[in-house]
């Protein structure tokens, strides 16, 4: 068990965004998180990555409690995410987007940077190589000088994943990676997720609405509704679970037939 979430709760004013969420992620596993809009999926991501502080409950990675740590400290333990509404460094080049994410592993000090010592050039060269390698994985190496905001939508999503990988994560959290993609692109994305999972030995937790993707690549699925986990299990079990059908199609629609 690499990541464990237990009894997580979070309120926004009078709204209970999360009301006791429990699930876990095993080493090397790929889990999907589904649920209607506003069911608290992204809030779970925000709590895990330290953007929100939960009202109660715990998040642990390999036994290390994460609640109360700042986002960068959580990232340095090996958790990284992408964002539902894409948060690239929009006015910077594609290359710089990836290089910024290499900063937590930088191998020269500020003084070395200020006087441009030999170590600076060598380490900068290594960062450049690493960024180029990651960009080639998402086929963006030829667009490295373009500003991130000028990339087409699909490439922006890819760049966000490349940037995330540059932090050398063990756990990757993907927030709706297939949003806005056509069926063909979704198929390519599924391949891509499988590939990076193998290559970087990642444990992945993804939020997605496209059932084809979730059912196609996830080993287990966690279903959320109104800030609670209402079902969990293998894709086959989830597909036929009456509570899940009810949450998606509305109360009563499951019981009529």
């Amino acid at each position: 068990m690499i990541l464990e979430v237990a009894g997580l709760s979070k309120n926004f004013g009078g709204i209970k965004a999360l009301a006791g969420v429990d699930f876990h992620l095993d080493e090397g596993e790929l889990i999907g998180m589904i649920g209607p809009n506003g069911s608290g999926k992204t809030t779970v991501f925000n709590v895990i990555t330290g953007i929100y502080r939960p009202a109660g409950g715990s998040v642990t990675m390999d036994g290390t409690p994460l609640v109360g740590l700042s986002p960068h400290a959580i990232n340095r333990l090996g958790i990284v995410r992408t964002f539902q509404n894409i948060r690239l460094f929009r006015n910077l080049s594609v290359m710089d987007n990836v290089r910024i994410a290499c900063h937590s592993h930088v191998r020269y000090g500020p003084l070395s940077a200020l006087c441009r010592s030999g170590g600076f050039y060598q380490a900068e060269g290594e960062i450049w190589e690493k960024a180029m390698h990651l960009l080639s994985i998402v086929s963006l190496q030829d667009r490295r000088k373009e500003l991130a905001k000028n990339l087409p939508y699909g490439d922006q999503r890819k760049l966000e994943i490349a940037r995330a990988l540059a932090t050398e994560p063990r756990i990757l959290l993907l927030d709706e990676p297939a949003a806005g993609m056509n069926p063909f692109e979704v198929g390519r994305l599924m391949e891509f997720i499988r590939e990076i999972r193998e290559r970087f030995r990642l444990s992945i937790l993804l939020i997605e609405h496209q059932m084809r993707l979730v059912m196609g690549i996830c080993e287990r699925i966690v279903v959320m509704d109104f800030g609670q986990v209402i079902a969990r299990g293998a894709p086959e079990e989830i597909r036929n679970n009456p509570r899940v059908i009810e949450a998606y199609l509305g109360e009563g629609s499951g019981g009529e037939g």
Binding site: G50, H72, F83, N91, M95, H103, R116, S117
Partner: protein, 321 residues
Amino acid sequence: MRTAINLFKAFGPLCLAAGLGYLAESGEMINPYWIQIFQLACIIAISSLGLNLIYGFTGLFSLGHAAFYGVGAYTAALVMKSYGGESQYVFLAALLAGCAGAAIVAYLIGVPTLRLTSDYLGIATLGFGIIMKVLFDNIDSFIPQLGGARGMTGIAKMTTVPWAVVFLGISLILVRNLIHSSYGRALVSIREDEIAAGTMGIDIFRCKMAGFVAGCALAGLSGGLYAHLYAFLHPSNFDFFKSVDVLMIVVLGGIGNMSGTLVASFGWIFLLEGLRVVLPPEYIEFRWVLIPVLLIVTMLVRPEGLFGFREFPFLSGRDDE
């Protein structure tokens, strides 16, 4: 070896410029008044470069830059007046003391305020600037040599064209080297998207602090040079409006653009002084109307500043290819 070549590349033109400056100054080829204005422009450029680091690159909205400039000026002047006489070495030490003094004050101010988001940070630094102005006005109660509201006199005139040029050059090189390194990219990522930067492993608070302290240290350095240029300091040289002046230079030149700051600093100072010559005496105060109008026009026509994203070749990152 590469370091040596870089040092030569960096300091060769610098020494040349300083030498030419020395000749111009000692040979009295140019009116001493304009030489003084040139030095002032170098000094303002160093301070503006500091604010660009804070506001332009790190994205921290500071309205109290002149206060740090003042801390540097008074610290350096006090050191020089107490121990210096006419010694060049003590002058250097005094400048470093001004730099360090501004940096330490920046750190102390940064601890509570850098956790605030941008707009609130602006208000907090504005308040700090006003407090410092009041402190400078009344400082003679604590340290009589600083003169308070009567102004501080008897500071040695140590700032020369070579010193001004060399310190501007060093500041430019250091800021350039910082910006085109992983540390500089970390600063810029905070300006672009704080939340994304944090989740990518950038220590937001530490980086903000580093950018803020470094920028204020440059303000302190330029304050020290200023103190020894006119040999007279008055609290009104460090009030809120002086902070706004520097802010306007940074915005005019282009936010996050070193070349723009450099050109805008010189343009600003020479325009102000040039108009003093050109305009009839009764209209001289209209200079202060013209500059804001210029700013408004620039914002309408070129919101990205004079230079936009382009940099002079020696200030751009060669490793971007």
